[in-house]
């Protein structure tokens, strides 16, 4: 599989490289999505920017879906993790624009999703391209959609015609 990195994701990775504060990034990377506990908020594309302003650390995140209850938990986790790392003053800014897209999901994130049994988003939301969805269990592309919405807003429900297993697909958005 060739990892496809979108232009916006390339910029995001570049920002991180140039931002310094490696200890902060590393601490934040321990935070997983509460609904999919194998993928970090960085790999999911929620974590955008980290900046130090004097004593204060400012963390910019992009919410996934409007009503996603996980965002509250993630904000709380960010404060907690950074306080443990010795940063008493933490500001978490939720930025709406540009809107979150699965194009920001890292290759590592995609790999972990598949290992967890969730088909990773395929294609690129920015240019609308789509490639076939493969069953995360057996790899077959003979799959059929059962429902546009799976167990959470970010997923759709599919079934594999080859191994018959139903599976979640992380929608391209």
């Amino acid at each position: 599989m060739i990892p496809l990195v979108s232009e916006s994701q390339r910029l995001r990775e570049q920002y991180r490289k140039e931002a310094g504060l490696e200890d902060v990034w590393a601490a934040l990377e321990q935070i997983k999505d509460p609904e999919i506990p194998v993928i970090s908020i960085w790999d999911l594309g929620i974590l955008q920017e980290v900046e130090q302003q004097g004593e204060r650390i400012k963390v910019v995140i992009t919410p996934t879906y409007s009503g996603c209850p996980a965002m509250h938990e993630i904000t709380r986790d960010i404060r907690q993790v950074l306080e443990q790392a010795g940063y008493a003053q933490v500001e978490v800014v939720s930025r709406l624009s540009p809107a979150w897209t699965t194009d920001w999901m890292t290759s590592e994130g995609r790999k972990r999703l598949i290992e967890y049994g969730i088909a990773a988003p395929v294609g690129c939301a920015a240019d609308g391209s789509e490639t076939p969805i493969a069953c995360p269990l057996c790899g077959s592309e003979e799959v059929t959609k059962i429902s546009e919405f799976g167990s959470t807003a970010c997923k759709a429900l599919f079934q594999c015609k080859e191994c018959q297993e139903p599976f979640d697909y992380f929608k391209c958005i």
Binding site: Y65, S66, G67, C68, L96, S97, T101, G150, A153
Partner: protein
């Protein structure tokens, strides 16, 4: 334009969009554990959450604009019927599954056009919220469109129910395109969407879907309006008594 008038108009506008979203979200949430089957229960719950999240974004913004210093929760839970500004179509009871899906297709189609225009708003916050919501509405429409086809072109009973729903809802659709004076000011300022201008595209698209679903587009024989003035159907009060129950029973309660 007077800066104050402008701010009040913007507050009203944002609040009304929040009211649209929360009433729609609440009606959809009423299907939770009552949907026809499990997958559908999950789907409808997720769409409800999208709308409730949308309401939260609008209310947060409205709270920042509010002269009276109310919080987003105050706006959602401490206003009575006459203070709600949602369009009437959103507050109608969920009815049967056909009613819910026919309404959903109608409002999803409307929202696709509306949000597309709102992304071009000169107000950056509104444009950002719209940019986020439109991605979700695209999925909502795919599903509601699908369901209208399945129901309209399904069994005799599903067809009949979908057709009946359409007739019951139709008179509430003109209000989607009525713009009042305060909103008109904002349209001229490049902030609000000229909803009246969306009518013809919407009408065309609805017509196509109904034909495809073998449903009959109703005659324009009656219409009601009033939501944006706080004049509602008798259903909103009942809905609010449930939606606002906790704050009414235990004022100031927090999680």
């Amino acid at each position: 334009m007077n800066q104050n008038v402008n701010k009040q108009a913007l507050f009203n506008y944002v609040l009304a969009l929040g009211d649209d979203a929360i009433t729609m979200g609440h009606r959809l949430s009423e299907w939770c554990r009552n949907a026809p089957f499990l997958e559908e229960d999950l789907a409808i719950g997720n769409v409800a959450l999208d709308f409730i999240g949308r309401a939260q974004m609008f209310y947060q913004y409205a709270a920042e604009l509010d002269d009276q210093g109310r919080s987003e929760d105050d706006l959602a839970f401490l206003r009575d019927c006459r203070d709600f500004r949602n369009l009437l179509i959103y507050e109608l009871p969920k009815g049967d599954f056909a009613f819910t899906m026919v309404r959903q297709m109608i409002v999803d189609l409307f929202n696709m056009e509306f949000l597309e225009q709102l992304t071009k708003s000169s107000d950056e916050r509104l444009s950002a919220i719209a940019g986020k919501c439109i991605k979700e509405s695209r999925y909502h429409l795919r599903r509601s469109h699908d369901w209208v086809l399945r129901l309209g072109d399904g069994t005799e009973e599903s067809h009949e129910r979908a057709q009946r729903a359409l007739v019951d809802i139709w008179g509430y659709t003109p209000e989607l395109f009525m713009v009042d004076e305060s909103e008109q000011q904002l349209v001229q300022a490049g902030i609000a969407v000229d909803r009246a201008a969306l009518m013809s595209v919407w009408d065309n698209r609805v017509g196509q879907i109904l034909t495809e679903a073998k449903l009959q587009k109703p005659e324009d024989s009656w219409k009601v309006e009033g939501g944006r003035r706080g004049v509602h159907t008798e259903h909103l009060g009942h809905m609010l008594s449930e939606l606002q129950f906790l704050q009414r029973a235990y004022p100031g309660l927090q999680w």
